[in-house]
Amino acid sequence: MTENKKINIVLAGQGNAGKSTIFNYFTGLHQHIGNWAGKTIEKREGTLFYKDYTIDVLDLPGIYSLTTYSEEELISREYIIHHQPDCVINIVDSTNLERNLIFTIQLLELECPVILALNMIDLAKKKGITIDFQKLQNILNVPVIPTVASHGSGLTDIIDKVIELKEKKKDLNTIRYGKEIENCIDILSVKLQMIDLPYPKRWIAIKLLEKDNELIKAVWEKDSGIEETTRKLEKNLEEIHGHDSSIVIADERSQSASRIVRKIVRILPGRNISLNDRLEALTTHKFIGYIFMLFILGGMFLTVFKFGNWFSAWLETVFSDWHNLWTGSLGTAFLASMGWSAIESVLALIQIALPFILPFYIILYILEDWGYIARISFLMDNLMHKMGIHGKGCISFIIGLGCNVPGCLSCRIMESRRERFITAVLVTLVPCSAVSVIVFGLVGKYVGLLWALGLYLFAMVLIFLAGRISSRFIIGEPVELIMPMPDYKTPHFKTIATQTGLALKEFVFIAAPLVIISGVVIQGINLAGWMPAISGVLSPVTETWLGLPPITGILLIFGILRKELILVMLAAYLGTSAFSEVLNHQQMITLAVLSMFYIPCIATISVLWNDFGWKKALVVCILEILFAIFLAGIVKRILDFVF
């Protein structure tokens, strides 16, 4: 393949517009997920081989604007400016054209080649919206292609257009502002001619008037004289319009978008109320909405528990046959038992953890793809405000139910640092699927399902109280919720299968090595006869204060790696998962409470460290250790009366 047949494109667009679906379609298995340098924001790249071309595709984070509210927005705009991709494919939600076009206008201001993909055109049609894309093409002077990403239609047209654009560059169109603003832009552009910055001059001028901190810094450094001119122009604008200059610009941009939409969009009146509309009204209803939510979440946990138990019991019978086969043929000598403990650890992981994690992720991704998670945020916003954060924090909590790591990472959707931190800390208290393995596999199975659900309720109350307390101590203004409400969609089977597959793959590849190593180490310590010494050091806490068997001390240490190790290693150590032989009911509950809160697992700690610094991460860990030990001790003493 020759050099000049290489093309690089980026995908940009707002959330929920179908960007990931298009990215997956283009790149298939040729994709690579990493991080942006120095950031924990996911960077997804891939390659598409099409005709004679090798096309590198980069998926920019989903954003609403190219102003720097967030790291994602900054990354996206820096990338477009510095890497000069051959083409930016702006994926637009056709049912939501006006809001999406505001972003498109900002992209055009960056003066890069743009192709507009009018995605979900089928849904728009269903809603009675017809879009004259020929006219849109003329107004914006960029290619406009209607697509339905979930069916793959229109997507090869995009690539054909990309190639066409690469072969012959097109002139770009500017969307003009009102006269006063254009005057200011002209004056600033002239002044900016002297300055050597890798950005288009018109764009710098606009951003200066928008009071963009990053650019103000960059320009003032080169020529502080421009500051005075800018201030004067801003003041002038503000006098004419009665608003801050940044708002005047944002206002006009948004008005251009709605002017364009008025020219090209026809909405047929009197369309039928669809099933989704009825569902919408029901699921966000004042009363019924909450009942529906309890029903959904309750159903989710019941399914996870019932399916998990059944699957786990089935696996147990299979695996115990294997053990008999092993000892029958290899005996119980030292090496043979070490070897079996490695195998047994993995089997225990599969038998205890997988049955609960698999259905959880499937249901979670169905709810996400369907669009229900946003409804939960809407319904819960009020309660979340009492914890000093807003409804979007709920999304992080629900993701945290699967795994605290993506839960903490998703806290970036919160607007301020303060809320990001509070949400992240609260997420570490959310019982993740690994903790659920302990709660369901121990308490649910042996003590009773109601006790397990009670523990979840207990965790929720605790998170609420922790939120109330931390919002008192961590000062700052609470931010209000602003969130687009996506329409309900029919869940897309392939998307759900892919996401579940990725989650399970990560689970197996990260957990299995840790489990094997810890399994062998524990078995080694045991065979060497060191177990009493190590357990002895921790026994004042485990035995005296918590009333747990001495082995739990060492299990809790391994549990920092992954929480389910506590149960998996116990099973591996005992050689059976009949936990009722070593733990009575109140010990099971005490151990479950302790496992829920005693420390975030190592991966979660590293996310906290990365995002908030080691000091805060350390404080969170120490507080949680002390708190959980104290709490579990109290729980034990209360349970003494119950049982």
Binding site: K211, D244, S254, F378, L379, N382, E480, L481, I482, M485
Partner: protein
């Protein structure tokens, strides 16, 4: 401006009622965020629903739905249509 009786905050609209944004009583960052989402003066807003106990409002703007916190909605002054 005369205090007209059909000038209210967005929160005071009933569910199903439509109003036109007259102004936003808030800081620069908030106003700009709203503008980037298409909420500027002159925009028509329809209140679709809300949750109990001063929870957020669900609104419709130019055919798409948004959720706004109650405190924020209180800062949007609209003229009832």
């Amino acid at each position: 401006m005369n205090a007209k009786k059909d000038l209210v905050s967005l929160v005071d609209l009933n569910d199903g009622q439509t109003g036109t944004i007259l102004s936003i009583v808030g800081g620069r960052i908030l106003t700009k965020r709203l503008a980037d989402l298409g909420l500027t003066s002159g925009t028509e807003i329809k209140v679709i629903g809300r949750t109990l106990f001063s929870g957020p409002l669900q609104i419709e703007v130019s055919g798409s739905r948004l959720v706004l916190g109650r405190g924020l909605a209180a800062k949007i002054i609209v003229e009832i249509k």
